[in-house]
Amino acid sequence: MEKYDVSDPSDWLETHLTEFAPFDAALRCEVCKDYYNTPMITSCTHTFCSLCIRRTLAADGKCPICRSNDQASKLRRNGAMEELVEMFKVARPVALRLAQKEKISPDRSTARPRSKSKRKAADADLEEEAQRSSQKRKTRGQSRRDAPTESPEVMVIDNEEDGDYQPDDDLVPCPICHKRMKQEAVFSHLDHCEEEQEQDRRRARTRTPNSAKPTLGSSKSQLSSKPPERIAELSYGLLTEKALRKKLSDLGIPSWGSRTLLIKRHTEWVNLWNANADSLNPRSKRDLLNQLDVWERTQGGHALNSAAAPNHADAVMSKEFDGVGWAQSNKSDFDKLIAEARRKAKKLGEGQQESEAMMKEEDEGSSKARTDERSTNVKTTNESSTPVTAAPPPPYLKHSDSLERAKEKIHGSRRLSDASSTSLAPEATRPHTEIRDSVAENGAEGLSAEELFRAEERRASISSFSPTHTKGAERVPMLKVPEHPVRDVDGGKS
């Protein structure tokens, strides 16, 4: 089972500050139970993460808390809440650590192991948040300096402000602000330390989310200054599948799959996109596409269910591809294909026998290898892609039974005709069979009787064991005027 590093309001219950638990809970979204991420307020004045409420409204159009109807277009950003959450997230680890420390001191023996792990969790929390954004890191630095913590990781070396203190191995922390500096510099620093802190604090106060916005954008360097536009929701009922597909590809998202899947994907994309557009700190489209990809794998077309996309060939090749499930869900398609193949086989079987026999006879080794190779190719394409996209294989490859019959024939006749079969290049047989195929399609019925007759005739001729005759009769393409006059040895028509 995956482990997530989760912070929870219940973290406060074991500390001195149990009253902080409901406060912490109030800053969390009721849907994801995490701190509000781009909080949005509904018409019924409930607040949720932008993505959470958009997904919920897309699913049932109701507020999760009071069940009153609402629309995504009526959501408004809850800026005050956003600021509150960001500030609390910064203050939380520090406060939690402090609260835990105070709690331990009276009964150290019992509470210790527990609180230790808690502290570790809090540290991890801190690190994770530190990675999240550069802006937060800055404010964190501020709060660290302000807060009386003793953790060794609070080594904020601010090069901008203390350019003259070079970070070195033998640095000592300032007892007030914990900045590290050379020992001899501490005393002079102490004189103006408090003053500096005051300045910092003032700066922090003026750095409201609005003023922080440009720095955020530039730090990400992915987005232009103008905020991304919202995508309008579509009324899917009014769109044809083709139009819908076009909409998706216009948006730059995958446009494969069934209509239901297209709708689901579009909905998810609209939610992701608009939630991102709400954000003060929007991410790049590539990030969103990655997120959509995650969705695709967990809930979309790549999730293992019946919605699996038939025209996505890579899915079939992947290791976790559910072969049995695939076979079952596409059984009707496979059955249809097989039936079709059988029908064609019946129709062409007799005509094919002969050409097959001929080919084999002429170039046993190489043509056999080629046939095998090609038949495997055809097999894979049939399995991995839709029947429509599979290139129509040479008909004789499909008809395993007629192939078998042909082989039998060859084995029977080979003993006799070995001497007669000269080397004819496989290229020569190629156009030959092509012509035959097209003819077979046009008038297979009329032809087959004739061909059957010819096949019989040939068998007779082979068994008569006359090399020259075989040469003449065998090598003539079906509907081509032979270059040299055909000798009509035993009254056959050609």
Binding site: M1, E2, K3, Y4, V6, D8, S10, L13, E30, V31, C32, K33, D34, C52, R55, T56, A59, D60, K62, P64, I65, R67, V294, T298, Q299, A303
Partner: protein, 152 residues
């Protein structure tokens, strides 16, 4: 991903304190959990019995409701209730798309079921129970329940 994160939060909470009569039995993954519930008052129908609930979560939980059914084994019967079929399927609007809200969670569902049992005095199964149990092959989420009883 979305579901797992939320479930891991719920799990953390469930492993802490729970309301009386509700306990977590197993949660080995983020797909299926087992919970036990007990009716706390002296309702003669449910006295001294422990009922086991199985929660199944889809990947879009909590947007979508979990599938919740009673499970039967030698020590855990299916409670008698006019809205609980003898195969464990529960007819409760809270668990249906129409009544579910992402604000609900495993704990709140358990509490709701607990109170649904507590408030009941009829020792009976839903009408048509036998036929339903015999013929139903659908998963609970695919059944179209009609919610008519507002007393529960």
């Amino acid at each position: 991903m979305f579901a797992s994160k939320r479930l891991s939060k719920e799990l953390q909470k469930l492993q802490g304190t729970l309301p009386p009569g509700i306990s977590l039995i197993s949660a080995e993954n983020f797909e299926e959990w087992l919970m036990d519930i007990k009716v706390m008052d002296d309702n003669p129908l449910y006295r001294n019995e422990v009922y086991r609930l199985r929660f199944r979560f889809g990947s879009s939980y909590p947007i979508e409701a979990p599938e919740v059914t009673f499970v039967q084994d030698p020590s855990h019967p299916i409670p008698m209730h006019p809205h609980v079929y003898s195969n464990g399927i529960i007819c409760l609007d809270l668990l249906d798309t129409s009544g579910w809200s992402p604000v609900q969670n495993v704990e709140s569902v358990c509490v709701s079921l607990q109170s649904m049992l507590t408030g009941n005095s009829k020792n009976e199964r839903p009408p048509g129970n036998d036929a339903f149990v015999r013929t139903n092959r659908q998963r609970p989420r695919d059944i179209n329940f009609v919610f008519h009883d507002n007393k529960v």
